[in-house]
């Protein structure tokens, strides 16, 4: 644990003291971060292999399926810094430092959240991630609407997660502990009353809003659209997964007997959301908003997969979350490269880019195909497993999931075709070519995704 928490903390000091003669601050700290990511790969795999939650500090540990999330966090944060290079280039050095410190504290809190074994610790860190994210959105966003978006983000999350705190404290009163290591051995709760059902909802709604479930998702497109690129990336790639991770943890351990009946409406709502947000995507003209709604749609599948509570559903949700983390983050980066050149998020203004940025089109192509879950990409593995477990739960879900998959393919292709193919509008002829930095960024997003094809059981968790 300390092996990567300590370097993360050191990055604070690093950002503050560094002398940036030869390398920009940004690159130094992203290099540092990549090293943390490497340590983390090493460490998490080691832990997953030999320790399996045993020889660790009682407050922090890594469960078999959780190295993935810590790894995703540590992998994405350097990428966030690289992607913000252009955004931060004109800022004074002190603000760059502040920015990097915010990202560092975000990484710190996320690692702690993903490795907490005490539910209150998890809750604290879950909430603690709000603050750096809020700052990133509202301080470094571009439009004036970012303030509104920050409000939405904060209040949606807090209003749903404060009941979670009370629910956790009630659980502690009943069982006497909130440690996940102990909770699994405690007696199953006797949940029968109406208040217990409310308690069940209190435990899950925080995560469902964070995911977000369709209906409670309005904060997400706003936050995504207004956030700077790093904010969008971390939001789509890791923060949404915090919700999924929390659900996986809670639902298996403590909510067991009630979830069978009570999760019906939520599954239906999630699948309905897959179709609805997909349809919204089809008529989007705002590139970032399209990607944000596509995240909502994918997360709907994840919610469905988790709530049916079968091993396949869980594994599928895990795979889809990891794959979607990389894919959506890559798409946001691509949208940002467009934005940096064209200064608009509008799809109609940025058409036919294949003519001027041909290599970028390749990345767009891979990312769009990953988004629509082309075989053999890990996205497809996740979707297939979720779909299978949902069909097993009720064949009627096929109507919704099938339509959802179809629509996902349509809007992904719509996005690709609209931005890349076709004749080049005249106002785009004088575009800058894409930089090595952007290619590096895209390669670091998409190559791991492609490499996962060859060793998928790294992210399969339960079944393999």
């Amino acid at each position: 644990m300390v092996k990567f928490l300590f370097p993360t903390l050191m990055l604070h000091i690093h950002a503050d003291l560094t002398n940036y003669r030869l390398m920009t601050l940004i690159t130094q700290s992203s290099g540092h971060r990549l090293m943390i990511a490497m340590i983390n790969v090493h460490l998490t795999l080691k832990m997953a292999q030999w320790l399996d939650e045993q020889h660790l500090n009682p407050y922090m540990a890594q469960t078999p399926y959780l190295p993935h999330f810590v790894l995703l966090t540590c992998w994405l944060l350097p990428l966030m810094i690289i992607s913000s290079q252009h955004h931060m280039a004109t800022e004074p050095i002190n603000r760059q430092r502040t920015y990097i410190m915010l990202l560092t504290s975000l990484q710190f809190f996320l690692i702690l959240a993903f490795s907490a074994t005490e539910l209150i610790m998890f809750y604290l860190m879950f909430e603690a991630t709000l603050l750096p994210t809020l700052m990133i959105i509202t301080r470094w966003g571009n439009q004036a609407e970012r303030l509104n978006a920050g409000m939405y983000f904060l209040f949606y999350t807090l209003a749903s997660s404060l009941p979670l705190l009370v629910a956790l404290l009630l659980l502690q009163n009943t069982t006497g502990t909130l440690s996940l290591l102990t909770l699994q051995y405690s007696n199953p709760l006797n949940l029968s009353t109406y208040a217990d059902k409310l308690w069940w909802a209190g435990c899950l709604i925080a995560f469902l809003v964070k995911m977000p479930l369709y209906g409670a998702h309005l904060w997400l497109p706003k936050a995504h659209v207004e956030a700077p690129v790093a904010g969008s990336m971390i939001l789509a790639a890791v923060l949404l997964k915090l919700g999924g991770y929390g659900m996986m943890r809670m639902i298996l351990l403590v909510l067991e007997p009630l979830s069978k009946e009570l999760s019906y409406p939520f599954i239906v709502f999630a699948l309905w959301g897959v179709v609805m947000t997909g349809l919204i995507c089809l008529r989007q003209t705002d590139l970032k908003s399209l990607i944000a709604y596509s995240s909502v749609s994918h997360m709907g599948l994840v919610v469905g997969g988790i709530l049916v509570q079968t091993p396949w559903g869980f594994a599928g949700a895990l795979i889809l979350m990891i794959a979607h983390g990389l894919t959506s983050s890559a798409l946001f980066c691509l949208a940002n490269t467009n934005y940096e050149r064209i200064h608009s998020r509008n799809i109609l203004l940025a058409r036919g880019l294949q003519m001027v940025l041909p290599l970028m089109t390749t990345w767009w192509f891979i990312a769009s195909l990953a988004n629509l879950a082309l075989p053999p990409l890990p996205n497809l593995m996740g979707e297939l497993m979720i779909l299978t477990s949902l069909i097993n739960w009720s064949p009627w879900t096929l109507a919704l999931t099938g339509a959802g998959v179809l629509i996902t393919a349509s809007y992904s292709l719509y996005m690709f075709l609209m931005t890349q193919r076709g004749p080049l509008p005249t106002h785009l002829i004088a575009l800058d070519p894409s930089h090595s930095r952007e290619h590096l960024l895209m390669a670091l997003h998409l190559l791991p995704l492609l490499l996962l094809i060859f060793k998928p059981h790294l992210i399969w968790g339960w079944v393999s």
Partner: protein, 144 residues
């Protein structure tokens, strides 16, 4: 819900009508002559309409990291070295040669071997008893 239906109905024909307009290019037909004409209309990169000076004017090998060419070059090298060489290549090799986690691969190989063996012997793939019941010695009830 019902009140929305007429709205949707009204908007459908409009959507259908607009689509061709959206998808068909509004620019002049492409071709050498057309492009040349358009390029004349637009000044070259260093005077784009946003008032930005393209970094490629100053540094043709611009990598997107910094305005200073030396810093830019070094940053690119460091980024690619750590990102691609160390993280992806060495990391990938490391992961590939990791020992079998939780004996999963061994279990799979073993299962396949057992299946082939049982098929050859003609016994059912799964036997009813995991242990041979004759070999299990149950302690007598009298010794307490």
């Amino acid at each position: 819900m019902l009140t929305r239906l007429p709205r949707l109905g009204l908007s459908l024909p409009r959507l259908l009508r607009n689509h061709p307009v959206r998808f068909v290019s509004q620019s002049k037909p492409s071709g050498a002559a057309g492009v040349a004409a358009v390029t004349e209309l637009h000044p070259p990169a260093e005077k784009s309409d946003h008032g930005e000076v393209s970094p490629y004017v100053k540094n043709p090998d611009y990598h997107g990291f910094s305005d200073d060419p030396v810093v830019d070059e070094w940053n690119m090298r460091v980024g690619f070295f750590f990102g691609i060489s160390v993280a992806l290549v060495i990391g990938g090799a490391f992961i590939h040669y990791l020992p079998d986690h939780g004996m999963r691969e061994w279990a799979r190989r073993e299962a396949e071997r057992v299946i082939v063996q049982r098929e050859q012997e003609g016994v059912p793939l799964l036997s009813e008893y995991y242990y041979d019941p004759n070999k299990i010695v149950v302690p007598g009830s009298g010794e307490e």
